[in-house]
């Protein structure tokens, strides 16, 4: 199992899921991770290690979707089953299979929810976008662009955030996906326009940071924060009214499905099939909120808490 980092609870959970499943199936599991987000060189080294180690299968959440491809090819040539988790490779068929969240859809869900929640006010909303990093990793771009699409904003170049011209967007800032960055980015945006009323956040830690910034100026109740991930602290934060809604993804499922697939490959030589209509196996995404709106399917916080990770 090779994850982007092993500091993000998402991947930690994924690892736990995989470990549990592997024990159940009697598979030996070794985990590797990049040092920081975007560190694909370490991932390449990890793949090489797996080859040297004679692994049967690799579960991979790629930090760079195309740079990793030659290494993946080398592994497949060595007869290893490579399954991409969470993040599809580019091209997607570079891996034997992909078990992933549809990040664009995840963004779209919260976008739609936010638009519906605001109703007519959506036309003159003031939106703050809290993204991941200046290097614009794919996940961040997909979620961001998905949110804007869902909200009904023209995203211009869909492979890039920050090029939108819609006046409702106050600005983009980067958070490194943690609380500290979330708070600073929110403060910066608030200094630009203190009347922001919708905040998109790349993940829940960033959302929690943004909330602190809003709380500091007493606006925590007039601003709608939406996020993606569905980690337990995040879902709890919905219950506490910190976040309005979040799109929940299922790393445990990805991991355990992946382990099962490798088991199957090792035992029977059968590769997993993608979800119908998509070129990857969609592990699903669900909108978690206690304030459901019409036209957007959602689950309640309670259900969310049952399914949450981390």
């Amino acid at each position: 199992l090779i994850t982007k980092t092993d500091t993000n609870p998402f991947f930690v959970k994924m690892k736990e899921g995989a470990t549990a499943k592997a024990e159940e199936l009697g598979i030996e599991l070794k985990s590797f991770a990049g040092k920081i987000d975007g560190d694909h060189e370490t991932q390449v080294q990890a793949i090489e290690t797996c080859i040297a180690d004679g692994a049967k299968g690799i579960l991979l959440t790629a930090s760079d979707t195309s740079s990793i491809v030659p290494a993946v090819q080398q592994a497949r040539d060595a007869g290893i089953l490579v399954i991409a988790l969470d993040t599809p490779l580019s091209p997607i068929d570079a891996a034997d299979a992909t078990f992933a969240t549809d990040n664009f859809l995840a963004g779209e869900l919260i976008g739609k929810w936010a638009a519906a929640k605001l109703g007519d006010d959506a036309a003159d909303a003031k939106i703050g976008m809290l993204d991941l990093a200046v290097s614009q990793p794919t996940v961040g771009v997909l979620r961001d662009q998905g949110f804007l699409t869902g909200f009904g904003i023209d995203v211009m170049d869909a492979s890039k955030w920050g090029d939108e011209t819609d006046p409702r967007i106050v600005g983009n800032d980067v958070t490194q996906g943690n609380e500290e960055g979330g708070r600073r980015a929110m403060e910066n945006l608030l200094a630009q326009d203190p009347f922001i009323n919708v905040v998109y956040t790349i993940n829940e830690p960033a959302a929690a940071g943004a909330y602190e910034a809003l709380k500091a100026i007493g606006r925590e109740n007039d601003v709608l924060i939406v996020s993606v991930d569905g980690g337990c602290p995040g879902v709890q934060n919905i219950a506490d009214g910190v976040i309005g809604a979040t799109s929940q993804q299922y790393p445990l499922m990805m991991a355990s499905l992946g382990i099962e697939a490798i088991k199957k490959w090792a035992d029977e030589g059968v590769k997993p099939e993608p979800t119908e209509g998509k070129d990857f196996f969609d592990t699903g995404v669900a909108l978690v909120t206690d304030e459901p709106v019409e036209g957007v399917e959602s689950i309640s916080v309670k259900e969310g808490l049952d399914l949450c990770w981390g």
Partner: protein
């Protein structure tokens, strides 16, 4: 003594009549001279000037959006963590060392404070003390490795950085403790997040702590023997030892103090972000070193004033907020901060040069 003068070699006979006049030099007066003298004796003045200039420039460009008590105190808030860590970093850099473990110690301490409270149910006050002790302890280990094993500080703290960070993730199991929970059960952890509001100016306890910390360190460095020794050890460790200072004790105390300050930064961090998150503080190293160097402290040790680091941190804070308010996007801001780091230090060098 006059009798002994006659004992010397014959050519020295005239010495007893030697003119006792000492060299007299042109006394230059006036404003320029006084300014030059001030710049020489107060190394922190240059970054202060750069800071004031940049506030004025952004104030002119942005008007009241920037030049308001709200925005200005916001900068203080945003800078507080980096500022506190930069204080720790300054101490170490003054001894010609470098501390790459500051960020890791900060996070580790905050995690200890949080986990001790919530995992083991230790009273939050004691958990805070434990967190501070852990930070000090790691710092002291750095110091001992530097002095006993005679390892370069860069290596020691590079290794320690990786060790502490990994230990932090392993220990915390990457678990975040949420702000709401902390506010409910252990508000003392968020102590530094309290705010004094004066009009639209908002001073957090963390920001005030940072200012007090710099004041105390400035006092300690300029007014006590320990401070003189820190400078001397950084300047030339061998000379300091030969002239009778306990260089190794000074070094250990500096690293331990640096660890303690970082632990305080960890506590302040909880106040700032509300929660306890093991993934924070990844940029603390580079940001604190940047602040220190913009603040005019030499990386070769022994020169500069700790106050400069405060101004250095504030300069970066002013530029970041100012540029964002001017509408520069995140990538351009990043680029411009790079330009401004070089420019700020160039101005510093230039002022020092024209002031002779």
């Amino acid at each position: 003594m006059s009798e002994s003068a006659s004992k010397g070699q014959d050519y020295e006979s005239s010495l007893s009549g030697a003119n006792q006049q000492v060299a007299e030099f042109e006394k230059r007066e006036g404003f320029v001279y006084k300014l030059q003298h001030a710049l020489h004796t107060n190394p922190a003045l240059v970054p202060l000037i750069v800071l004031v200039l940049s506030i004025i420039v952004f104030g002119l460009l942005l008007g009241s959006k920037f030049f308001s008590p709200f925005a200005l105190t916001l900068i203080l808030q945003q800078v507080q963590i980096v500022g506190i860590v930069a204080a720790a970093q300054s101490l170490v850099i003054l001894t010609a060392g470098i501390d790459l473990s500051v960020g890791a110690i900060m996070v580790m301490s905050s995690v200890v404070m949080g986990q001790f409270t919530f995992r083991y149910g230790i009273p939050p006050g004691i958990a805070v003390v434990c967190g501070l002790a852990v930070g000090t302890g790691i710092g002291a280990i750095n110091g001992l490795l530097v002095t006993r094993m005679k390892l370069p500080p860069f290596i020691v703290t590079l290794g320690m950085w990786q060790i502490v960070l990994a230990a932090n993730f392993l220990y915390s199991a990457n678990e975040t403790i949420r702000s709401q929970e902390i506010a409910e059960k252990a508000p003392i952890l968020q102590f530094f997040g309290n705010v004094i509001q004066i009009g639209s100016a908002r001073l957090t306890f963390g920001a005030i702590f940072m200012l007090i910390l710099f004041a105390v360190l400035t006092y300690a460095l300029t007014q006590t023997a320990w401070g003189r020794h820190v400078y001397a050890v950084g300047d030339d460790k061998e000379a300091a030892e030969l002239s009778g200072m306990e260089a190794n004790k000074v070094l250990v105390s500096v690293y331990a103090l640096s660890g303690l300050i970082c632990a305080f930064a960890g506590w302040a961090l909880i106040g700032r972000i509300g929660s306890v998150s093991p993934t924070s503080g990844q940029l603390a190293n580079i940001e604190s070193i940047t602040a220190v160097v913009i603040g005019g402290i030499s990386l070769f040790g022994g020169r500069g004033s700790v106050l400069g680091s405060l101004f250095g941190a504030l300069i970066v804070g002013v530029f970041t907020l100012g540029l964002r308010l001017l509408g520069a996007d995140a990538q351009w801001t990043y680029l411009l901060i790079g330009v401004l780091i070089i420019a700020a230090v160039s101005v510093d060098q230039w002022i020092r040069k024209v002031s002779g």
